[in-house]
Amino acid sequence: MSAKSITSLDRLTDVTARSILVNISQRVRKQIHQIVLPLLGMIVLWQLAAMYVSDPMTLPTPMATFEQTYLLATTPDFRGLTALDHLRYTFVRAIVVSVIALSIATVFGVLMTTNKSFEEGLSNVLPFAMTVPTVVIILLSMIWFNFGERAVIFATVIAATPFGIINMWQGAKDIDVDLITMAHSFDASTAMVWRHIYIPHLLPYLFGSYRYILGMVWKIVILAEVFGIENGFGAMFRYYFQMGELVVMLGYLMLFVAVVLIIEYAVLKPLEEYLFRWRG
């Protein structure tokens, strides 16, 4: 490589670095406008509403609620578990269920794109599976599996998977057939076609579907935990609901919302954008 091209490369990286800096400061400004300000606005509105109601049993102030969250996270409850322990239970269930649901959805999603009969059969029957109310699935599964861990997992998998399959199928349908034809025209081997076309194309959908599945699994796990299990966020919601402790319930809710939103928008989404930046 000649000296001249090295300097131009240097300049190029320099320019790139500067544009990244500009980019970052623009992003920070945008995020202040789109995230920080609206959140502050919501808290202010909440505070005003709480002051207007002026009854902590009906609507506690944001500060009281956040304090409650802190207390719950640091001190063990009557079962000797902190809110973080319950979070761990719910979290592990959600991860296990979402991985199982994604695996099933991937198998069926790919089968549907590659096999016409499968596509026709499932695309007509799945909508019916989707009309089954989640709460009915949960109650039945509780009875069938004797109100335990397995009941929660089974119910959530059954409730989430049909939606996951449809999502996978719709993503996989968009795979660019032209690229495959192109690859064959260059006599690319099957291994090369898989490595350079199928997998890079499927991965974003897989990732996107995972995000989508996890997004709904959280809430189904919570609902399942409400019925007949002793730990996890859902069980806590039910317990403090029956005790009439709105502040504690909201304390749990704030922790839940924060964790889900952080995983969703501060971890998975940026990771997705980074991994699949070629999609522009």
Binding site: P127, V136, L139, I220, F237, F241
Partner: protein, 276 residues
């Protein structure tokens, strides 16, 4: 017989192709699995197909301990009231957002509210309002479904084709004409799909809310049978409305496809939202 008639052939052949239709096969497969599973369970946990049909018939005809028509009717009223309120709020706010600047400030709050599990809303509503005939159910449905409708209508309002409005100006069309021929037809598909989504979600949500916040309605009865550990009755009470809701959904889809004849294909939003 014309040469284009692909489904042609002798009547016997036609019956054979009809049976080997993938949809029917999948359905038959599902029923067979159900029947086999039912053999190894107690009928109270998983009734066989015939037993289930009998049970369902008893329930629907009002022969059960709880009078189905009455409970179903009150559940329908709740869904109906909530549906109307949800659509009114969703459409007004959605259109306002589509034409305003508040949009960029609304995304985060909508995201936060959508993260609340439905059951927590039901708990909050019961703590606020106690056991009620309508209020808790209607509140839960409106609070959860309205954001989806708002977002959906807002997307529609935002994507209005300004070239067409310019064209209308070039022909001196009045504001009334612009609404009638451009804004409303443009928003129609979004309203329709929002409506379908609202119906699909709201009946599932009303069950959750009825379990904790009412002393009548299908959800209330289902919870009683849950506490009595009677899976067969839970199924028998939910099958009729499930079939009905599925039927309504299909009919609306058909109507939608006819109504939007001009449109080649429409995204199906109802398949994207789970009610958890």
């Amino acid at each position: 017989m014309s040469t284009y008639d692909l489904a042609g052939g002798s009547p016997r052949q036609r019956i054979v192709t009809a049976i080997f239709n993938p949809t029917i096969l999948t359905l038959i497969g599902f029923l067979v699995i159900w029947e086999i599973a039912a053999m190894s369970f107690s009928p109270r946990d998983l009734p066989g197909l015939v037993q289930l049909a009998e049970l369902t018939f008893t329930v629907v005809s009002g022969g059960d301990r709880y009078y189905f028509p009455e409970h179903a009717w009150i559940t329908f009223q709740r869904i109906g009231i909530a549906f109307v309120i949800t659509m009114v709020i969703g459409v007004t706010v959605g259109i306002a957002m589509g034409y305003g600047v508040i949009e960029r400030y609304m995304t985060t709050p909508v995201m936060v509210v959508l993260t609340f599990p439905s059951v927590v809303w039901a708990f909050i509503a019961v703590m606020w309002f106690g056991l009620t005939t309508y209020l808790v159910m209607v509140f839960v449905i409106v609070v959860i479904v309205a954001p989806y409708v708002i977002v959906n209508v807002w997307k529609g309002a935002e994507s209005i084709d300004h070239d067409l409005l310019e064209m209308a100006d070039a022909f001196d069309a009045s504001t009334a004409m612009k609404w009638r021929h451009i804004y409303i037809p443009f928003l129609m598909p979004f309203l329709f799909s929002s409506g379908r989504l609202a119906i699909a979600l709201s009946w599932k949500l009303s069950l959750v809310a009825e379990i904790f916040g009412a002393s009548s309605g299908i959800g209330y009865v289902i919870n009683i049978y849950y506490e009595a550990v009677r899976a067969d009755m839970i199924i028998a009470w939910s099958v009729p409305i499930m079939l009905l809701m599925f039927g309504i959904e299909r009919v609306l889809k058909r109507v939608e496809n006819n109504y939007f004849e001009w449109r080649p294909e429409l995204d199906d939003v109802t398949s994207e939202v789970q009610s958890g």
